[in-house]
Symmetry: C2
């Protein structure tokens, strides 16, 4: 158990008038890992005095060996409810956005309080060791990329390149890739979340490569775009629109002052100024990175959160012209006391 984090969780649920919180972790085990330090699956219950993990028989031994105790063998939702009652919890926090309707529905006999965003907010400000893990994940991904870079030549298929990159991410020390590596070329690059195909990469195409590594549960996430086989001149304006959108958005961040939406707007307006290509910018500008690939803070038009030291997030403007091409540049930044540090630089565009 990681007591300083659990203490902050306790402050939060106490503020909301709760005497306990149950965390179901339906999408992944990020919260569980954050508060316990163990890579297990189960249900986390934190009350005023104690922290327990409820696990199935499949994870019982691993949880016991990882945590030494405070592990409760639990078969189903009824067991979770009984345990919460045994602990004397009456007013219970539960994340409505990250629990199933059935799970929340099973919590009868409690006064429920929506605990959504609370753990994501805690995890948004990274500790020193977390930052180091994210940096390691970034360096591993970048080194893996450098290894496969010589293979980026006309003729290799999207999937071949993606498979080699995923493999090298592991060979360089990543547990695995942070998400299915994207290699999208030519018209395929117009899909932000393209799945690599057997299409060969060809001269004259933009190739978008979006990839990351996992290290001790922490992720990295970066995107390079290359133009194949020809000088950039012809398509320079499109590329530069994205390049400068990223650059100026990154440079404008003043810790403790700039809001997420302002950074988004800066990128958007830069794209607008450069040929009106902001109409092809169809997603947010960035997202936090940590135990999840996508977490708080989100950089979009609606989010007015002030960017603070020890936040880590991506800045990734992109333009997607259906049937034609796509360009995306993504790096991660760490907000420091007085400025931001770019964790993984985007290399220049021209490929072989």
């Amino acid at each position: 158990m990681i007591e300083n984090r659990i203490e902050k969780l306790r402050e939060r649920f106490t503020e909301l008038g709760c005497d306990g919180v149950v965390i179901f972790n339906i999408f992944n085990n990020a919260d569980l890992r954050y508060f316990t330090g163990a890579d297990i699956e189960g249900v986390l219950v934190v009350d005023r005095e104690d922290t327990n993990v409820l696990v199935s028989s499949l994870y019982y031994q691993k949880a016991m060996d990882s945590l030494g105790g405070n592990v409760v063998l639990s078969k189903d939702l009824d067991d979770v409810v009984s345990f919460l009652k045994k602990r004397g919890v009456v007013k219970l926090g539960v994340d409505f956005a990250r629990s199933t309707h059935r799970q929340v529905g099973s919590l009868s006999g409690f006064e429920l309080v929506d605990f959504s965003n609370q753990t994501l907010e805690l995890r948004m400000i990274k500790e020193r060791d977390e930052i180091n893990q994210i940096k390691r994940a970034a360096y591993i991904a970048r080194n893996a990329f450098i290894k496969v870079y010589p293979m980026l030549k006309p003729g290799i298929t999207e999937k071949e390149l993606a498979d080699e990159l995923s493999y090298q991410i592991r060979k360089h020390g990543g547990e695995k890739e942070a998400f299915q590596t994207i290699v999208a070329s030519g018209t395929n690059a117009a899909y932000p979340h393209h799945v690599p195909t057997d299409k060969p990469i060809e001269d004259g195409e933009f190739v978008v490569i979006d990839f990351g590594a996992v290290v001790n549960g922490y992720n990295s996430d970066m995107t390079y775009t290359f133009l194949m086989g020809e000088r950039i001149d012809e398509k320079k304006e499109l590329f530069n629109a994205v390049f400068y959108a990223q650059l100026f958005a990154t440079e404008m961040i003043a810790p403790n002052r700039t809001r997420a939406s302002e950074v988004y707007n800066r990128a958007k307006s830069e794209l607008a100024k450069r040929g009106g290509v902001d109409k092809y910018f169809i997603h947010g500008l960035g997202h936090g990175v940590g135990l999840e690939v996508h977490e708080f803070p989100y950089l979009n038009a609606e989010n007015s959160i002030v960017l603070k030291p020890n936040m880590v997030f991506t800045i990734e403007p992109g333009i997607y012209i259906p049937g034609k091409l796509g360009i995306r540049l993504e790096h991660m930044v760490l907000v420091k006391e007085n400025d931001v540090e770019v964790i993984a630089f985007t290399p220049f565009v021209e490929a072989m």
Copy 2:
């Protein structure tokens, strides 16, 4: 859109008195893929007359290009609710176990009916083409294993072997591995869901290798256990307990007659007979495999479902002795009209 499947879905929600169903796909896009044929993320709405996919701007172009139409750009849950109302849906099916509490909570103004299990039940009986995809996924995984098998020698680490196997799964035509490949040796094998470490594999250890491939969204799932560097004699009884539990459980299945729980009980009693090692059998006997790695039917003590032709599921008894060892053997079976076909055989135990 895959109309024959949507028609069956319509029959189901009509039977439940609904005039529409909304499918949120919070864990993965398996349902969406099943009913539309497209590999996209979004919300599926099927009503009495029509089928539509509601997607964010991130997936709009891909959805349009895949489906040609019936794609609705949608920003948030409010848009989903408006669309359902526009379609005239009043009594609405929604899967309480596979939707978040927030999603279901947002559906105000409808009469809600729990639609859980319905799509899983439809997907449980595979069509011919689905079976072929699963078989391909199994063959790819097996061929990949054959390729890395010579590397299974004392000294290689769990992670090195797992990384090579994952890589070969992709090189042999898999989109990716079906789940993070497990290589668990010695005492680590006592954790059913071990994450491969830098621990070298050593003589005298059991090594559990659990792996699968994805092909067109369909998964395979198989587990081999090898004893390293020594003759099986000494530990033969433990291995044989698992081996015969799997064999007899597989052989007893009579299509349209045998219940899932009976197969589980057969494996369990075989383990009991052989030294009482059933106390180390801490999970279910198997699970369906298809667009999800784990889906219906589940083979456990509680599930009384009758096993029917064109179901595909694993049979995977295992024993886990904490601090000592683990053994698991897993193959997939396809239920046919008169018997079962083993899709991916487990090879014999003795390694180099």
